[in-house]
């Protein structure tokens, strides 16, 4: 482990007289060139995208998507509009459709070109309907393609791998533990943490 108290290498050349100074300069120049030469033989850090994809970490905040319920196959979104209200740049617009057993979203538009990818919408969603994916690949030459409607959002949800975060998992991670069955730390939340 490096000695953190050692002073940064400073020049003491001036104290050594002309020959000492010339020698120090020569040595410093050679040392500098040596570092570049050493780097030449290190493996380059280039990743050959798009032939090679980098691995995304579990919590990657990528494209947004709407999800279906795993068991019933129904849409998770209940049209409560909490994501619309929380979004800082206000890119989400939702219209609620009331039905007997539960509500739905009649329309759900998300302007991805203005989205900040802050994950606040994911955080507030009570039903884990809106999540983020491990992909950022939506470059296009027409900005209208980045105005995502509900079908597009559902399609993205089926196309890519989802990130770890959902509303309930995030809120569980952030909540102070209940006083009752205090078993240590909220990060050991169910659903695993990656």
């Amino acid at each position: 482990m490096p000695d953190v108290e050692a002073p940064v290498r400073r020049t003491r050349a001036a104290e050594r007289g002309t020959f000492g100074e010339a020698w120090a300069i020569a040595r410093a120049l050679v040392w500098g060139m040596r570092i570049t030469l050493v780097n030449m033989f290190r493996k380059p850090v280039t990743v050959h995208y798009p032939t090679v994809e980098r691995t995304f970490p579990n919590r990657f905040r990528g494209l947004l998507a709407l999800t279906y319920d795993k068991e019933t196959g129904e849409e998770n979104c209940i049209g409560c509009r909490l994501c619309e209200f929380i979004c800082p740049p206000a890119v989400i617009k939702v219209e609620m459709l009331k039905a007997e057993k539960r509500n739905y979203a009649k329309t759900f538009t998300l302007e991805l070109y203005a989205c900040e990818f802050c994950e606040l919408c994911v955080q507030v969603c009570p039903t884990d309907a809106i999540i983020m994916m491990k992909s950022f690949d939506l470059s296009t030459s027409d900005r209208r393609e980045m105005l995502l409607d509900k079908d597009r959002l559902h399609a993205i949800g089926l196309q890519h791998e989802p990130s770890w975060a959902t509303g309930n998992k995030l809120r569980d991670m952030q909540a102070p533990p209940k006083k009752v069955a205090g078993e240590g730390h909220a990060a050991a939340a169910p659903g695993g943490d990656a």
Binding site: L29, G32, M33, I35, T36, L37, N39, M40, R42, K43, P44, V45, T46, H48
Partner: protein
């Protein structure tokens, strides 16, 4: 080659010049790729990779791109000067290859005063450089051209002196004589004097060619592209080509003066190949220096030249003379 020698001399010279020029342009294009790949590896990255296998078609792609670019001339530019400047800059940089012998007997013009011709012609590029800076009618370009003239003139003297050391050791200004004199011992291996002269040669060469750490004239972060800033398309390509030609020419000169030119193991026809390798070695050395150091200010550059390099190379010349006199057996 007997058929060749029987041709009229004018035709011989034309064919030789054409051959050298053609080979030169080809090598220059790929020397740019070599520099980019070498620099990339120094920086933990790969360099051109996609255009052709491992980037081998990159110079061609760059050439085609520059040909197709729009040729912008600023409205207030001095047109004749602006248009002529790249050519006036290019011609001396290509002409320096005229005196370099690539093998015993092969070369465009093996002048008696080869070294002198080389150094004199290579200084002519300053005219083209200043024309470019002036004709652009741009304060940045003008500032950069002024700095460049200052710098190249200051460094040409120490450059000349350090090139004169092998001349004194060989006793002739003719380049093929200098190369032949190194058959036994390369001049760089000459104790102390050889190494010091080579070091001085490298330093002054880097400065005379406006390469980092002495590249204040093009200081991208202050003056963007310096005197070249208003050039686009093929004119820019010509200027770039000229700069690389100058660097390569100096590398060839360095390889000839200090590293024994075509001397190397193997048959005689392998000579030019060895020469090319040595020149590329000097070129890579200059490139390695370029990519390792930050640049210094113009007044510091000039101070290094007049207060350090000029006295040092003068001293070296006197020392060389003393050594030669001391070692020559008196009749």
């Amino acid at each position: 080659m007997s058929g060749f020698s029987s041709l009229p001399p004018a035709l011989q010279a034309t064919i030789m010049s054409a051959a050298v020029l053609g080979a030169l342009i080809g090598i220059l294009a790929y020397v740019t790729l070599l520099e980019r790949k070498f620099a990339a590896r120094l920086q933990s990255r790969i360099g051109p990779y996609r255009v052709g296998p491992h980037g081998l078609l990159q110079p061609i792609a760059d050439g085609v791109k520059l040909l197709l670019k729009e040729d912008l001339i600023p409205a207030s530019a001095d047109r004749p000067v602006f248009n002529l400047a790249p050519i006036v800059f290019l011609v001396p940089c290509l002409l320096i290859f005229a005196t370099i012998p690539f093998a015993p007997g092969i070369g465009v013009a093996d002048l008696n005063a080869g070294v002198l011709f080389f150094l004199a012609i290579s200084s002519l590029e300053i005219v083209g450089l200043f024309m470019a800076g002036w004709g652009s009618n741009n304060k940045y370009a003008l500032l950069s051209a002024m700095r460049a003239v200052n710098q190249i003139i200051s460094y040409d003297l120490p450059f000349l002196f350090s090139a004169l050391v092998p001349v004194m050791l060989a006793g002739s200004l003719r380049l093929s004589d200098i190369a032949a004199a190194q058959a036994g011992l390369w001049f760089i291996a000459y104790p102390v004097i050889g190494q010091l002269a080579f070091l001085a040669f490298v330093i002054t060469a880097v400065a005379a060619e406006n390469r980092a750490p002495f590249d204040i004239l093009e200081a991208e972060s202050e003056l963007v592209a310096g005197f070249r800033v208003e050039y686009s398309g093929m004119k820019f390509a010509i200027i770039q080509l000229a700069e690389y030609a100058h660097v390569l020419g100096t590398s060839f000169l360095g390889a000839l003066l200090f590293l024994g030119a075509w001397a190397g193991p193997g048959p005689a026809w392998l000579g030019p190949v060895w020469f090319l390798f040595k020149a590329l070695f000097v070129f890579l050395l200059l490139t390695w220096v370029r990519w390792s150091f930050v640049r210094i200010r113009v007044d510091q550059i000039l101070r290094v030249s007049w207060k350090l390099m000029l006295p040092a190379t003068l001293l070296l010349l006197f020392a060389t003379a003393a050594v030669i006199v001391w070692r020559t057996p008196h009749a």
